[in-house]
Protein backbone atom coordinates (compact mmCIF):
# COMPACT_ATOMS: atom_id res chain seq x y z
CA UNK A 1 0.00 0.00 0.00
CA UNK A 2 1.38 3.40 -0.98
CA UNK A 3 2.55 5.67 1.80
CA UNK A 4 0.34 8.65 2.66
CA UNK A 5 1.61 12.20 2.15
CA UNK A 6 1.70 12.55 5.93
CA UNK A 7 3.92 9.47 6.26
CA UNK A 8 6.32 10.77 3.66
CA UNK A 9 6.49 14.22 5.22
CA UNK A 10 7.21 12.71 8.63
CA UNK A 11 9.96 10.55 7.15
CA UNK A 12 11.55 13.59 5.57
CA UNK A 13 11.38 15.50 8.85
CA UNK A 14 12.91 12.51 10.65
CA UNK A 15 15.81 12.32 8.19
CA UNK A 16 16.56 16.00 8.57
CA UNK A 17 16.33 15.91 12.35
CA UNK A 18 19.64 14.03 12.33
CA UNK A 19 21.35 17.30 11.45
CA UNK A 20 19.90 19.15 14.42
CA UNK A 21 20.97 22.78 14.11
CA UNK A 22 23.71 22.27 11.55
CA UNK A 23 22.46 24.26 8.57
CA UNK A 24 25.51 23.50 6.45
CA UNK A 25 24.94 19.73 6.70
CA UNK A 26 21.28 20.23 5.94
CA UNK A 27 22.21 22.02 2.71
CA UNK A 28 24.82 19.40 1.76
CA UNK A 29 22.17 16.73 2.25
CA UNK A 30 19.72 18.63 0.07
CA UNK A 31 22.32 18.98 -2.68
CA UNK A 32 22.94 15.22 -2.51
CA UNK A 33 19.20 14.51 -2.70
CA UNK A 34 18.95 16.71 -5.75
CA UNK A 35 21.41 14.46 -7.55
CA UNK A 36 18.85 11.65 -7.24
CA UNK A 37 16.25 13.53 -9.28
CA UNK A 38 15.63 11.66 -12.55
CA UNK A 39 17.02 13.54 -15.53
CA UNK A 40 14.40 15.65 -17.22
CA UNK A 41 14.32 15.26 -21.01
CA UNK A 42 15.48 18.38 -22.84
CA UNK A 43 12.25 18.68 -24.81
CA UNK A 44 10.40 19.32 -21.52
CA UNK A 45 12.93 21.87 -20.28
CA UNK A 46 11.57 24.82 -22.18
CA UNK A 47 9.69 28.11 -21.75
CA UNK A 48 6.34 26.31 -21.48
CA UNK A 49 7.32 24.47 -18.34
CA UNK A 50 9.56 26.93 -16.58
CA UNK A 51 8.65 28.41 -13.23
CA UNK A 52 10.81 31.49 -12.97
CA UNK A 53 12.24 32.94 -9.83
CA UNK A 54 14.60 35.77 -9.16
CA UNK A 55 17.19 33.51 -7.57
CA UNK A 56 16.61 30.14 -9.17
CA UNK A 57 14.58 28.51 -11.93
CA UNK A 58 12.47 25.38 -11.74
CA UNK A 59 11.10 23.31 -14.63
CA UNK A 60 7.93 21.37 -14.01
CA UNK A 61 6.38 18.96 -16.52
CA UNK A 62 3.05 17.31 -15.61
CA UNK A 63 1.09 14.43 -17.07
CA UNK A 64 -2.02 12.57 -15.97
CA UNK A 65 -1.90 8.77 -16.24
CA UNK A 66 -4.71 6.53 -14.92
CA UNK A 67 -6.08 9.29 -12.77
CA UNK A 68 -2.69 9.99 -11.16
CA UNK A 69 -0.53 13.07 -11.71
CA UNK A 70 3.00 12.37 -12.87
CA UNK A 71 5.60 15.10 -12.38
CA UNK A 72 9.01 15.60 -13.93
CA UNK A 73 11.01 18.45 -12.45
CA UNK A 74 14.42 20.06 -12.37
CA UNK A 75 16.15 23.19 -11.10
CA UNK A 76 19.27 25.12 -12.05
CA UNK A 77 20.42 25.44 -8.44
CA UNK A 78 21.48 22.42 -6.39
CA UNK A 79 19.78 23.30 -3.13
CA UNK A 80 16.47 24.01 -4.86
CA UNK A 81 16.90 20.75 -6.77
CA UNK A 82 17.04 18.91 -3.45
CA UNK A 83 13.78 20.48 -2.35
CA UNK A 84 12.28 19.70 -5.76
CA UNK A 85 13.30 16.06 -5.26
CA UNK A 86 11.46 15.95 -1.93
CA UNK A 87 8.36 17.52 -3.40
CA UNK A 88 8.32 15.09 -6.32
CA UNK A 89 8.75 12.24 -3.81
CA UNK A 90 5.69 13.55 -2.03
CA UNK A 91 3.40 14.35 -4.94
CA UNK A 92 4.48 12.20 -7.87
CA UNK A 93 1.98 9.51 -8.89
CA UNK A 94 -0.80 10.86 -6.67
CA UNK A 95 -4.42 11.69 -7.40
CA UNK A 96 -5.26 15.39 -7.75
CA UNK A 97 -7.24 15.16 -4.50
CA UNK A 98 -4.26 13.79 -2.59
CA UNK A 99 -2.18 16.72 -3.79
CA UNK A 100 -4.82 19.34 -3.06
CA UNK A 101 -5.60 17.93 0.39
CA UNK A 102 -1.97 17.91 1.51
CA UNK A 103 -1.15 20.14 4.42
CA UNK A 104 2.43 20.96 3.45
CA UNK A 105 4.34 21.23 6.72
CA UNK A 106 7.65 19.49 6.12
CA UNK A 107 9.38 22.45 4.46
CA UNK A 108 9.11 24.60 7.55
CA UNK A 109 10.03 21.67 9.81
CA UNK A 110 13.29 21.00 7.95
CA UNK A 111 14.31 24.64 8.34
CA UNK A 112 13.65 25.71 4.75
CA UNK A 113 10.69 28.03 5.31
CA UNK A 114 12.68 30.86 3.68
CA UNK A 115 12.28 29.03 0.37
CA UNK A 116 8.52 29.53 0.48
CA UNK A 117 8.41 32.71 2.50
CA UNK A 118 8.29 36.27 1.36
CA UNK A 119 11.46 36.04 -0.73
CA UNK A 120 10.37 37.62 -3.95
CA UNK A 121 9.25 35.25 -6.71
CA UNK A 122 11.22 32.24 -5.59
CA UNK A 123 11.11 29.51 -8.23
CA UNK A 124 10.48 26.85 -5.65
CA UNK A 125 7.61 28.66 -3.94
CA UNK A 126 5.98 29.25 -7.31
CA UNK A 127 6.50 25.59 -8.16
CA UNK A 128 4.35 24.47 -5.23
CA UNK A 129 1.55 26.74 -6.44
CA UNK A 130 2.00 25.43 -9.97
CA UNK A 131 1.80 21.78 -8.89
CA UNK A 132 -1.44 22.51 -7.05
CA UNK A 133 -2.82 24.31 -10.10
CA UNK A 134 -2.08 21.31 -12.31
CA UNK A 135 -3.89 19.14 -9.73
CA UNK A 136 -6.94 21.42 -9.98
CA UNK A 137 -6.89 21.29 -13.77
CA UNK A 138 -6.53 17.51 -13.87
CA UNK A 139 -9.25 17.09 -11.27
CA UNK A 140 -11.64 19.00 -13.52
CA UNK A 141 -10.46 17.06 -16.56
CA UNK A 142 -11.01 13.72 -14.83
CA UNK A 143 -14.48 14.86 -13.66
CA UNK A 144 -15.54 15.82 -17.14
CA UNK A 145 -14.50 12.47 -18.66
Amino acid sequence: MAKSTTDIQNEIIENFSLFEDDMESRLFYLMDLGKKLPVMPDEHKNEDYIVKGCQSKVWLYPEIVDGKVIFEADSNTEITKGLVYLLVQLWNNRTPDEILNTDLYFIDKIGMSRMIGSQRSNGFASMIKQMKMYAVVYKEKVKSL
Partner: protein
Amino acid sequence: MAKLNIESIRKQFPVLHQNVNGKPLIYFDNAATTQKPLSVINAIRDFYEHDNSNIHRGVHTLAERATSAFEATRKTVQQFINSKESEEIIFTKGTTDSINLVAQTFGKANLKAGDEVIISAMEHHSNIVPWQMICEEKGAILKVIPINDAGDLLMDDPIAIGFEKLLSPKTKIVSVVYVSNALGTINPIKNIIEKAHAVGAKVLIDAAQAVSHLDIDVQQLDCDFLAFSAHKLYGPTGVGVLYGKRELLESMPPYQGGGEMIKEVTFAKTTWNDIPYKFEAGTPNIADVVAFKFAIDFVNEIGKNEIRNYENELLKYFVGANSIRQLTEKVSNVKGEFDSPILFIGNAKEKVAVQSFVINGMHHFDVGMMLDAKGIAVRTGHHCTQPLMQYFGIEGTVRASFAVYNTKEEIDVFVEALERLVNLKMR
Protein backbone atom coordinates in the same frame (compact mmCIF):
# COMPACT_ATOMS: atom_id res chain seq x y z
CA MET B 1 47.13 49.05 9.37
CA ALA B 2 44.76 51.94 9.98
CA LYS B 3 44.73 53.67 13.32
CA LEU B 4 40.98 53.14 13.61
CA ASN B 5 39.71 51.46 16.74
CA ILE B 6 37.54 48.88 14.98
CA GLU B 7 36.44 47.19 18.19
CA SER B 8 35.10 50.45 19.48
CA ILE B 9 33.38 51.15 16.17
CA ARG B 10 31.79 47.69 16.14
CA LYS B 11 30.40 48.28 19.65
CA GLN B 12 28.28 51.03 18.15
CA PHE B 13 26.47 48.51 15.93
CA PRO B 14 24.29 46.22 18.06
CA VAL B 15 23.06 44.22 15.05
CA LEU B 16 26.56 42.84 14.41
CA HIS B 17 26.66 41.04 17.72
CA GLN B 18 24.44 38.07 16.97
CA ASN B 19 24.71 34.53 15.68
CA VAL B 20 23.26 33.28 12.43
CA ASN B 21 22.90 29.52 12.09
CA GLY B 22 24.97 29.15 15.23
CA LYS B 23 27.89 31.23 13.90
CA PRO B 24 28.79 34.89 14.53
CA LEU B 25 27.19 37.09 11.89
CA ILE B 26 29.63 38.28 9.25
CA TYR B 27 27.87 41.07 7.39
CA PHE B 28 29.42 41.57 3.95
CA ASP B 29 26.34 42.97 2.24
CA ASN B 30 27.02 46.66 2.81
CA ALA B 31 26.52 47.69 -0.78
CA ALA B 32 22.91 46.56 -0.38
CA THR B 33 22.50 48.44 2.86
CA THR B 34 24.78 49.43 5.71
CA GLN B 35 24.13 48.80 9.38
CA LYS B 36 23.23 51.71 11.65
CA PRO B 37 25.19 52.98 14.66
CA LEU B 38 23.50 53.55 18.01
CA SER B 39 23.55 57.31 17.45
CA VAL B 40 21.25 56.90 14.44
CA ILE B 41 19.00 54.34 16.12
CA ASN B 42 18.73 56.52 19.24
CA ALA B 43 18.02 59.62 17.20
CA ILE B 44 14.90 58.02 15.73
CA ARG B 45 13.73 56.91 19.12
CA ASP B 46 14.56 60.28 20.73
CA PHE B 47 12.68 62.14 18.05
CA TYR B 48 9.50 60.19 18.59
CA GLU B 49 9.92 60.33 22.37
CA HIS B 50 10.58 64.07 22.64
CA ASP B 51 10.26 66.13 19.46
CA ASN B 52 7.73 64.53 17.18
CA SER B 53 5.56 66.97 15.31
CA ASN B 54 4.80 67.85 11.75
CA ILE B 55 7.21 70.36 10.30
CA HIS B 56 7.40 73.71 8.56
CA ARG B 57 4.09 75.19 9.42
CA GLY B 58 3.52 74.69 13.12
CA VAL B 59 3.59 77.52 15.60
CA HIS B 60 4.00 75.43 18.73
CA THR B 61 7.23 74.40 20.43
CA LEU B 62 7.38 70.79 19.25
CA ALA B 63 6.81 71.89 15.66
CA GLU B 64 9.69 74.30 15.99
CA ARG B 65 12.00 71.63 17.44
CA ALA B 66 11.06 69.11 14.76
CA THR B 67 11.51 71.64 11.97
CA SER B 68 14.84 72.71 13.39
CA ALA B 69 16.09 69.13 13.57
CA PHE B 70 14.89 68.38 10.05
CA GLU B 71 16.54 71.46 8.57
CA ALA B 72 19.71 70.76 10.53
CA THR B 73 20.11 67.59 8.46
CA ARG B 74 19.66 69.56 5.28
CA LYS B 75 22.47 71.88 6.35
CA THR B 76 24.67 68.91 7.27
CA VAL B 77 24.08 67.31 3.87
CA GLN B 78 24.87 70.62 2.18
CA GLN B 79 28.23 70.72 3.94
CA PHE B 80 28.83 67.02 3.36
CA ILE B 81 28.70 67.40 -0.41
CA ASN B 82 29.71 71.08 -0.46
CA SER B 83 26.71 72.43 -2.33
CA LYS B 84 26.54 76.20 -2.51
CA GLU B 85 23.20 76.45 -0.76
CA SER B 86 21.08 74.20 1.40
CA GLU B 87 18.10 74.97 -0.85
CA GLU B 88 19.80 72.86 -3.49
CA ILE B 89 19.37 69.81 -1.25
CA ILE B 90 16.06 68.05 -1.77
CA PHE B 91 15.00 65.16 0.43
CA THR B 92 13.51 62.24 -1.47
CA LYS B 93 12.74 58.59 -0.68
CA GLY B 94 16.08 57.45 -2.03
CA THR B 95 18.34 57.38 -5.08
CA THR B 96 15.68 55.72 -7.25
CA ASP B 97 13.17 58.40 -6.28
CA SER B 98 15.72 61.15 -7.00
CA ILE B 99 16.52 59.85 -10.47
CA ASN B 100 12.84 59.41 -11.31
CA LEU B 101 12.27 62.99 -10.16
CA VAL B 102 14.87 64.35 -12.57
CA ALA B 103 13.72 62.18 -15.47
CA GLN B 104 10.09 63.13 -14.98
CA THR B 105 10.62 66.85 -14.46
CA PHE B 106 13.86 68.01 -16.08
CA GLY B 107 13.62 65.21 -18.64
CA LYS B 108 9.98 65.86 -19.40
CA ALA B 109 10.50 69.60 -19.82
CA ASN B 110 13.68 69.42 -21.89
CA LEU B 111 13.68 66.29 -24.03
CA LYS B 112 12.19 66.32 -27.52
CA ALA B 113 11.98 63.66 -30.21
CA GLY B 114 15.45 62.82 -31.53
CA ASP B 115 17.28 64.09 -28.44
CA GLU B 116 19.73 61.70 -26.82
CA VAL B 117 20.28 60.52 -23.26
CA ILE B 118 23.51 58.71 -22.39
CA ILE B 119 23.82 56.14 -19.60
CA SER B 120 26.36 53.35 -19.17
CA ALA B 121 26.38 49.56 -19.44
CA MET B 122 27.10 49.19 -15.74
CA GLU B 123 24.09 51.12 -14.45
CA HIS B 124 21.71 49.93 -11.76
CA HIS B 125 18.16 49.51 -13.03
CA SER B 126 17.22 52.68 -11.14
CA ASN B 127 19.46 54.62 -13.53
CA ILE B 128 18.21 52.80 -16.62
CA VAL B 129 14.46 52.39 -16.35
CA PRO B 130 13.48 56.02 -15.55
CA TRP B 131 15.40 57.09 -18.67
CA GLN B 132 13.85 54.35 -20.79
CA MET B 133 10.43 55.51 -19.66
CA ILE B 134 10.95 59.20 -20.40
CA CYS B 135 12.73 58.52 -23.69
CA GLU B 136 9.84 56.39 -24.86
CA GLU B 137 7.39 59.09 -23.83
CA LYS B 138 9.31 61.82 -25.61
CA GLY B 139 10.71 59.94 -28.61
CA ALA B 140 14.24 60.47 -27.35
CA ILE B 141 17.03 57.96 -27.86
CA LEU B 142 18.93 56.15 -25.11
CA LYS B 143 22.62 55.53 -25.77
CA VAL B 144 24.87 53.31 -23.68
CA ILE B 145 28.56 53.78 -22.88
CA PRO B 146 30.20 50.36 -23.30
CA ILE B 147 32.58 48.79 -20.79
CA ASN B 148 35.56 46.45 -21.00
CA ASP B 149 36.15 43.11 -19.26
CA ALA B 150 37.90 44.77 -16.33
CA GLY B 151 34.75 46.76 -15.66
CA ASP B 152 35.92 50.18 -16.82
CA LEU B 153 33.90 52.52 -18.99
CA LEU B 154 35.23 52.96 -22.52
CA MET B 155 35.90 56.65 -22.77
CA ASP B 156 38.00 57.41 -25.87
CA ASP B 157 38.58 53.96 -27.28
CA PRO B 158 40.17 54.04 -30.77
CA ILE B 159 37.94 51.25 -32.08
CA ALA B 160 34.79 50.93 -29.99
CA ILE B 161 32.20 53.67 -29.73
CA GLY B 162 33.14 54.95 -26.31
CA PHE B 163 31.72 57.87 -24.39
CA GLU B 164 33.45 60.55 -26.41
CA LYS B 165 32.12 59.20 -29.69
CA LEU B 166 28.61 58.89 -28.24
CA LEU B 167 28.48 62.57 -27.27
CA SER B 168 26.96 64.92 -29.80
CA PRO B 169 24.97 68.18 -29.93
CA LYS B 170 21.89 65.93 -29.67
CA THR B 171 22.94 64.80 -26.17
CA LYS B 172 20.77 66.51 -23.60
CA ILE B 173 21.36 64.38 -20.50
CA VAL B 174 24.19 62.15 -19.33
CA SER B 175 23.37 60.02 -16.30
CA VAL B 176 26.12 57.80 -14.96
CA VAL B 177 27.02 55.99 -11.81
CA TYR B 178 29.99 57.22 -9.79
CA VAL B 179 30.74 53.81 -8.24
CA SER B 180 29.35 50.55 -9.62
CA ASN B 181 27.37 48.50 -7.09
CA ALA B 182 28.21 45.20 -8.79
CA LEU B 183 31.81 45.84 -9.83
CA GLY B 184 33.10 48.45 -7.40
CA THR B 185 34.49 50.47 -10.33
CA ILE B 186 35.09 54.16 -9.66
CA ASN B 187 34.22 56.06 -12.83
CA PRO B 188 36.06 59.18 -14.09
CA ILE B 189 33.04 61.40 -13.57
CA LYS B 190 34.89 64.73 -13.52
CA ASN B 191 36.08 63.96 -17.03
CA ILE B 192 32.59 62.81 -18.04
CA ILE B 193 31.02 65.98 -16.67
CA GLU B 194 33.49 68.24 -18.50
CA LYS B 195 33.01 66.47 -21.81
CA ALA B 196 29.22 66.45 -21.44
CA HIS B 197 29.10 70.15 -20.63
CA ALA B 198 31.22 70.88 -23.68
CA VAL B 199 28.33 69.70 -25.88
CA GLY B 200 25.71 71.43 -23.76
CA ALA B 201 24.40 68.36 -21.96
CA LYS B 202 23.44 68.22 -18.30
CA VAL B 203 24.84 65.51 -16.05
CA LEU B 204 23.26 63.49 -13.24
CA ILE B 205 25.60 61.46 -11.06
CA ASP B 206 24.27 58.39 -9.25
CA ALA B 207 26.36 58.57 -6.08
CA ALA B 208 24.54 55.87 -4.10
CA GLN B 209 27.62 53.65 -3.75
CA ALA B 210 30.09 56.51 -3.69
CA VAL B 211 29.00 58.53 -0.67
CA SER B 212 30.28 56.19 2.00
CA HIS B 213 33.69 55.75 0.39
CA LEU B 214 34.63 58.85 -1.62
CA ASP B 215 34.70 62.56 -0.94
CA ILE B 216 31.93 64.35 -2.81
CA ASP B 217 32.26 68.03 -3.72
CA VAL B 218 29.46 68.97 -6.10
CA GLN B 219 30.92 72.40 -6.82
CA GLN B 220 34.29 70.96 -7.72
CA LEU B 221 32.67 68.21 -9.81
CA ASP B 222 30.29 70.76 -11.33
CA CYS B 223 27.64 68.07 -11.77
CA ASP B 224 24.15 69.35 -12.47
CA PHE B 225 22.40 66.72 -10.34
CA LEU B 226 23.61 64.21 -7.79
CA ALA B 227 21.56 61.49 -6.13
CA PHE B 228 22.22 59.24 -3.17
CA SER B 229 20.52 57.33 -0.34
CA ALA B 230 20.95 57.64 3.41
CA HIS B 231 20.83 53.91 3.96
CA LYS B 232 24.06 53.28 2.02
CA LEU B 233 25.78 55.70 4.40
CA TYR B 234 24.97 54.17 7.81
CA GLY B 235 21.67 56.09 7.79
CA PRO B 236 18.03 55.01 7.70
CA THR B 237 16.16 53.63 4.71
CA GLY B 238 13.42 55.69 3.11
CA VAL B 239 15.55 58.85 2.89
CA GLY B 240 17.47 60.08 -0.12
CA VAL B 241 18.98 63.24 -1.46
CA LEU B 242 18.74 64.96 -4.79
CA TYR B 243 21.23 67.76 -5.25
CA GLY B 244 20.54 70.08 -8.16
CA LYS B 245 21.94 73.44 -9.22
CA ARG B 246 19.53 76.17 -8.21
CA GLU B 247 18.88 77.51 -11.70
CA LEU B 248 17.98 74.03 -12.92
CA LEU B 249 15.71 73.19 -9.99
CA GLU B 250 13.93 76.52 -10.39
CA SER B 251 13.36 75.88 -14.08
CA MET B 252 11.91 72.40 -13.52
CA PRO B 253 8.18 71.81 -13.10
CA PRO B 254 7.17 70.10 -9.83
CA TYR B 255 7.24 66.30 -9.52
CA GLN B 256 4.40 65.54 -7.14
CA GLY B 257 1.58 67.86 -6.21
CA GLY B 258 0.18 68.34 -2.77
CA GLY B 259 0.84 70.12 0.48
CA GLU B 260 4.13 71.85 1.24
CA MET B 261 5.09 72.35 -2.41
CA ILE B 262 2.59 75.12 -2.99
CA LYS B 263 2.54 78.84 -2.27
CA GLU B 264 -1.08 79.52 -2.91
CA VAL B 265 -3.92 77.24 -3.97
CA THR B 266 -7.13 78.33 -5.64
CA PHE B 267 -9.31 76.42 -8.02
CA ALA B 268 -8.39 78.90 -10.69
CA LYS B 269 -4.62 78.59 -10.26
CA THR B 270 -1.98 77.26 -7.88
CA THR B 271 1.53 78.66 -7.49
CA TRP B 272 4.60 76.66 -6.50
CA ASN B 273 6.71 77.03 -3.42
CA ASP B 274 10.41 77.90 -3.62
CA ILE B 275 13.05 75.19 -3.72
CA PRO B 276 13.62 72.83 -2.01
CA TYR B 277 10.01 72.64 -0.88
CA LYS B 278 8.67 72.68 -4.43
CA PHE B 279 9.94 69.10 -4.66
CA GLU B 280 9.01 67.96 -1.17
CA ALA B 281 5.26 67.38 -1.37
CA GLY B 282 3.50 65.93 1.64
CA THR B 283 4.80 65.01 5.06
CA PRO B 284 8.29 63.57 4.68
CA ASN B 285 9.97 60.76 6.60
CA ILE B 286 10.79 63.29 9.33
CA ALA B 287 12.29 61.09 12.07
CA ASP B 288 14.58 59.32 9.62
CA VAL B 289 15.73 62.56 8.00
CA VAL B 290 16.53 63.86 11.49
CA ALA B 291 18.47 60.66 12.25
CA PHE B 292 20.33 60.87 8.93
CA LYS B 293 22.37 63.78 10.29
CA PHE B 294 23.81 61.45 12.92
CA ALA B 295 24.95 59.02 10.24
CA ILE B 296 26.87 61.78 8.49
CA ASP B 297 28.30 62.90 11.82
CA PHE B 298 29.43 59.31 12.44
CA VAL B 299 31.26 59.24 9.13
CA ASN B 300 32.79 62.68 9.60
CA GLU B 301 33.99 61.82 13.09
CA ILE B 302 35.95 58.83 11.85
CA GLY B 303 36.91 60.57 8.62
CA LYS B 304 36.01 59.38 5.16
CA ASN B 305 39.65 59.01 4.13
CA GLU B 306 40.29 56.78 7.12
CA ILE B 307 37.21 54.71 6.31
CA ARG B 308 38.20 54.34 2.68
CA ASN B 309 41.80 53.43 3.48
CA TYR B 310 40.71 50.80 5.97
CA GLU B 311 38.13 49.31 3.58
CA ASN B 312 40.72 49.19 0.80
CA GLU B 313 43.04 47.31 3.13
CA LEU B 314 40.28 44.79 3.75
CA LEU B 315 39.76 44.37 0.02
CA LYS B 316 43.49 43.89 -0.53
CA TYR B 317 43.55 41.40 2.34
CA PHE B 318 40.78 39.40 0.70
CA VAL B 319 41.98 39.36 -2.90
CA GLY B 320 45.57 38.94 -1.75
CA ALA B 321 44.91 35.93 0.51
CA ASN B 322 47.14 33.06 -0.58
CA SER B 323 44.40 30.60 -1.34
CA ILE B 324 42.28 33.22 -3.08
CA ARG B 325 45.17 34.21 -5.34
CA GLN B 326 45.70 30.55 -6.23
CA LEU B 327 42.05 29.86 -6.92
CA THR B 328 41.17 32.96 -8.84
CA GLU B 329 41.34 34.25 -12.34
CA LYS B 330 40.44 37.77 -13.20
CA VAL B 331 39.56 37.45 -16.84
CA SER B 332 37.47 34.89 -18.63
CA ASN B 333 38.60 33.84 -22.08
CA VAL B 334 35.18 33.10 -23.38
CA LYS B 335 32.38 35.14 -21.87
CA GLY B 336 30.84 33.16 -19.04
CA GLU B 337 33.29 30.26 -19.29
CA PHE B 338 36.52 29.93 -17.37
CA ASP B 339 38.89 27.31 -15.97
CA SER B 340 39.85 28.54 -12.53
CA PRO B 341 37.76 27.65 -9.48
CA ILE B 342 36.88 31.30 -8.88
CA LEU B 343 36.50 34.16 -11.33
CA PHE B 344 36.57 37.73 -10.11
CA ILE B 345 34.14 40.02 -11.87
CA GLY B 346 35.10 43.67 -11.69
CA ASN B 347 38.83 44.33 -11.67
CA ALA B 348 39.06 48.03 -12.48
CA LYS B 349 42.22 49.79 -11.33
CA GLU B 350 40.18 52.27 -9.31
CA LYS B 351 37.72 50.48 -7.06
CA VAL B 352 35.96 50.63 -3.73
CA ALA B 353 35.84 47.65 -1.38
CA VAL B 354 33.38 45.59 -3.38
CA GLN B 355 34.21 42.27 -5.03
CA SER B 356 31.91 40.23 -7.21
CA PHE B 357 32.87 36.69 -8.13
CA VAL B 358 31.54 33.42 -9.46
CA ILE B 359 32.56 29.91 -8.38
CA ASN B 360 33.07 27.50 -11.25
CA GLY B 361 30.17 25.08 -11.57
CA MET B 362 28.29 26.40 -8.57
CA HIS B 363 25.22 28.60 -8.94
CA HIS B 364 25.49 31.86 -7.00
CA PHE B 365 22.28 31.02 -5.16
CA ASP B 366 23.83 27.84 -3.76
CA VAL B 367 27.01 29.73 -2.82
CA GLY B 368 24.99 32.36 -0.99
CA MET B 369 22.99 29.76 0.93
CA MET B 370 26.13 27.82 1.90
CA LEU B 371 27.86 30.99 3.09
CA ASP B 372 24.76 31.97 5.07
CA ALA B 373 24.96 28.56 6.78
CA LYS B 374 28.28 29.84 8.17
CA GLY B 375 26.81 33.15 9.25
CA ILE B 376 28.23 35.02 6.25
CA ALA B 377 25.91 37.51 4.55
CA VAL B 378 26.71 38.30 0.94
CA ARG B 379 24.44 39.28 -1.90
CA THR B 380 23.82 37.00 -4.86
CA GLY B 381 22.14 37.47 -8.20
CA HIS B 382 22.10 40.19 -10.80
CA HIS B 383 22.29 43.08 -8.28
CA CYS B 384 19.71 45.01 -10.32
CA THR B 385 22.22 45.28 -13.16
CA GLN B 386 20.87 42.74 -15.64
CA PRO B 387 22.45 44.38 -18.73
CA LEU B 388 25.83 44.27 -16.97
CA MET B 389 25.44 40.56 -16.19
CA GLN B 390 24.48 39.95 -19.82
CA TYR B 391 27.73 41.63 -20.89
CA PHE B 392 29.72 39.14 -18.80
CA GLY B 393 27.61 36.24 -20.04
CA ILE B 394 26.42 35.27 -16.58
CA GLU B 395 23.15 35.23 -14.67
CA GLY B 396 24.58 36.70 -11.52
CA THR B 397 27.46 36.88 -9.11
CA VAL B 398 28.22 36.55 -5.43
CA ARG B 399 29.15 39.97 -4.08
CA ALA B 400 31.10 40.79 -0.92
CA SER B 401 31.10 44.47 0.06
CA PHE B 402 33.01 45.71 3.09
CA ALA B 403 32.37 48.55 5.52
CA VAL B 404 34.21 50.21 8.37
CA TYR B 405 33.01 47.66 10.95
CA ASN B 406 34.30 44.59 9.08
CA THR B 407 37.52 42.90 10.17
CA LYS B 408 40.37 40.82 8.82
CA GLU B 409 39.25 37.99 11.08
CA GLU B 410 35.90 37.99 9.34
CA ILE B 411 37.65 37.80 5.99
CA ASP B 412 39.67 34.80 7.26
CA VAL B 413 36.42 32.94 7.99
CA PHE B 414 35.08 33.98 4.57
CA VAL B 415 38.18 32.77 2.74
CA GLU B 416 38.06 29.45 4.57
CA ALA B 417 34.39 29.04 3.65
CA LEU B 418 35.16 29.73 -0.01
CA GLU B 419 38.02 27.20 0.02
CA ARG B 420 35.61 24.65 1.43
CA LEU B 421 33.07 25.30 -1.30
CA VAL B 422 35.70 25.04 -4.00
CA ASN B 423 36.95 21.74 -2.55
CA LEU B 424 33.37 20.51 -2.46
CA LYS B 425 32.99 21.33 -6.12
CA MET B 426 36.24 19.64 -7.10
CA ARG B 427 35.20 16.34 -5.45
